[in-house]
């Protein structure tokens, strides 16, 4: 079912782990050079930057080619003809992805990824254009085809980002069955729950192998999806507009039992996800557990209809830092800095790369977004105005 032989992917994984271990000094340079010869895979990979650029130019080329075809051969054609040809292009793109994988052995190379993504996009637009007149058919066919195709590409090529696409398509399905917002949310959560059960079952067969990371991320995304479906204060943009006011608008849109059940669930789910993540020692699931915990803290006041206070973020910040410090201290008390199978020490070079890259990027980005910016001279007491500023010189007092 996978486009790549298991042995090739396993070898590739071993090669990456070996490089990581060498970088951290777990194996010597001599051992690395010797063992590297035993981890040569037939798959062709490239680095992240060339991968992104190849992805971009493939999208440009395919998009322009399809546009050119329509310009030359199909200008003035009916919607159904346009739709059929878009579906044909979707098939061609998918076949192209299969061919470059089979012939050129491309693996996370950008080109095959862009072709696979184009096949999903063309299918989507093709169905919309083909069934343009019949909204109800579009509403049914589109999510079904979207789910099937995205899920297939995720499974076949192992492209993690097509799994969220699957979830988005799946979230469109219930709105075809019912008009009740509450029922739609429950149905979406149930669909994700079914997916979660499937992923957990499938994952058990791939413990510690090269596919486990794919399943781990899928499971984490499904937990996140279930939470987002059930948190009534984070769902719609309309509600977000009223969010800061804490006027409890969501409460009036749903039946009270449903509203308060979801409130209870958004407190229960983070604990469940965190426990699951800790038990599995799964970073993605633990990360989602942390994210949904913060979301619960942030959305609790709007849920209860309480007004937000300006110092709420400060309290949240203190809480987050305190959790980090206490956890680190607790771990440090174990033998060798290990407790409960966890350590605060860095064990992978990837962590260091992430830290270096993100410290540079976030250092550039954050001051403008969180600190006051300058303003032109004013006699007004209140800060307010300005939008520019470098190291936090941005103004809103």
């Amino acid at each position: 079912m996978r486009a790549y032989p298991a042995a090739s992917e396993e070898t590739l994984r071993a090669r990456k782990l070996l490089a990581d271990w060498a970088g951290e000094g777990f194996v010597t340079k001599e051992q690395f050079e010797r063992l590297q010869q035993e981890t040569i895979s037939d798959l062709r990979t490239t680095n992240i930057f060339l991968r992104l650029v190849l992805f971009f130019f493939t999208l440009v080329g395919v998009g322009a080619a399809v546009g050119l075809f329509y310009e030359i051969f199909l200008s003035g054609a009916s919607g159904q003809t346009d739709g059929i040809f878009l579906l044909i292009f979707a098939v061609v793109c998918y076949a192209g992805a299969e061919v470059v994988v089979a012939r050129a052995r491309l693996y996370r190379y950008g080109i095959e990824e862009a072709l696979a993504v184009c096949s999903i996009a063309f299918s989507y637009v093709g169905i919309v254009v083909f069934f343009g007149e019949s909204r109800s058919t579009v509403d049914l066919v589109l999510p079904v085809v979207g789910v099937a195709l995205s899920l297939w590409i995720w499974h076949r090529f192992g492209l993690w980002y097509t799994f969220p696409a699957t979830m988005i398509f799946a979230a469109l399905l219930p709105s075809h069955w019912t008009t009740s917002h509450a029922a739609v949310r429950v149905a979406v959560a149930l669909l994700y729950g079914l997916g979660l059960a499937g992923v957990i079952a499938a994952r058990a067969r791939h413990r510690f192998d090269y596919v486990e990371d794919d399943y781990s991320l899928a499971e984490a995304l499904l937990w996140l999806g279930i939470y987002l479906a059930l948190n009534l204060q984070l769902w719609s943009l309309q509600m977000l507009g009223h969010w800061w006011g804490g006027n409890g608008r969501a409460a009036s849109d749903f039946a009270r039992p449903f509203y308060w059940t979801t409130w209870a669930l958004i407190w229960v789910l983070p604990a469940v996800v965190l426990v699951r993540g800790v038990r599995e020692k799964d970073r993605f699931i633990m990360a989602v557990g942390g994210i949904v915990s913060v979301l619960t803290l942030v959305s609790n006041k709007p849920y209860l209809g309480w007004p937000r206070q300006t110092w709420d973020p400060m309290l949240l910040g203190i809480l987050l830092a305190a959790v980090a410090l206490l956890l680190r201290r607790w771990l440090a008390q174990g033998a060798g800095g290990v407790r409960g199978g966890f350590t605060a020490a860095r064990l992978s070079g990837k962590d260091r790369q992430w830290m270096n890259a993100s410290s540079a990027v976030f250092g550039l980005v954050t001051p403008q977004s969180i600190t006051p910016s300058p303003q032109t001279r004013t006699e007004d007491f209140r800060f307010g105005g300005g939008a520019s500023g470098g190291g936090g010189a941005g103004g809103d007092f």
Partner: protein, 314 residues
């Protein structure tokens, strides 16, 4: 052969020791599992949330709390952060220095952000610099550069670079005419200043590991400035030539140093600039679409050749 079978095979070959086998197999099973990244993310998010709340509270309640209380609280936080950093910092070294404690970098980052909040408050309430924000930004940039180099901190280095960029931007924002052209010239000046400073510091061996940050910031600002010139209605030729030169330099640097992000910059910025020049003189959608088809294929072929030559067959 999964990773455990492979490790076992390597141990039987004698390629790794029994101790290495036990440790590496444990790592593959997540024994132990590292929370290094998660704990750092928590600390970073905590600092950000705290400063955001602090700024919001000061903004909203400054009148009720009074200047004295606001400034006292901000100053206490600031003094505590810098006392912590200066009292625990190891002796300064030209080379990369690890943080003395796990929270050190975040305390310094917190102090730097609170410094921004306090200065902004002082200026807005008392007009200490009579609205001359550019001087404030320049002083802040200098201070942050000092902190970044003293404590070997990339977060604060990025703050310094963004403050310096803000100084360049704010200085010319007062100029009434020809803002785009002036902004562009200042952006180029900024990128050259940052790039050359970074190179000189690296050459002198002063925190050479910061050079990547300098170079990436300088390259992106330079490319944006040159691209904005290429998109001019008139007089874009000189900017186009400059863009091609910059792309050539970026490509050469990326290939010789195997820093492929610079290859990506050259490819994407160069393609956008070149396409802007070509497409503006084209008539008809067919010609434009054909241009994108052929050039995208050309770029793919070239990039695949580069990837084959410099990339890896795993």
């Amino acid at each position: 052969m999964n990773i455990f079978a492979r490790l076992k095979h390597w141990r039987e070959q004698g390629a790794i020791s029994q101790e290495q086998y036990a440790y590496l197999a444990g790592l593959c099973r997540g024994e132990p599992s590292s929370l290094f990244l998660e704990l750092n993310v928590l600390l970073y998010a905590g600092v950000l949330a705290f400063v955001a709340g602090l700024g919001w509270t000061v903004t909203t309640w400054s009148q009720q709390l009074g200047d004295l209380l606001v400034l006292a609280v901000l100053s206490i936080i600031l003094a505590a952060c810098f006392w912590y950093c200066f009292s625990r910092a190891p002796a300064w070294s030209l080379a990369q220095t690890p943080a003395p404690t796990a929270v050190f970098d975040y305390v310094l980052y917190l102090g730097s952000l609170v410094w921004c909040v306090e200065l902004a408050y002082l200026e807005n309430r008392f007009h200490v610099l009579s609205g001359q924000w550019d001087y404030y930004l320049l002083a802040t940039a200098v201070f942050f550069f000092f902190l970044a180099y003293r404590f070997d901190n990339r977060f604060v280095l990025s703050l310094a670079l963004s403050s310096l960029a803000g100084w360049f931007g704010l200085t010319i924002s007062r100029w009434p005419d020809h803002q785009d052209a002036t902004y562009r010239q200042y952006a180029i000046l900024y990128s050259l200043l940052v790039g050359i400073s970074g190179a000189l510091l690296k050459w002198r061996g002063t925190k050479a590991h910061f050079f990547g940050t300098y170079l990436n910031v300088a390259a992106n600002v330079l490319f944006w400035a040159l691209l904005s010139g290429v998109f001019n209605r008139y007089g874009y030729g000189v900017w186009f030539v400059a863009l091609l030169l910059a792309c050539g330099a970026s490509l050469a640097w990326g290939l010789t140093r195997r820093q492929f992000v610079f290859v990506a910059y050259a490819a994407v910025y160069g393609y956008i600039g070149f396409s802007a020049i070509v497409v503006r003189n084209m008539r008809g959608e067919t010609a434009i679409l054909a241009y994108f088809v052929f050039t995208a294929v050309g770029m793919l072929v070239a990039l695949v050749q580069i990837a084959r030559h410099f990339g890896r067959r795993a």
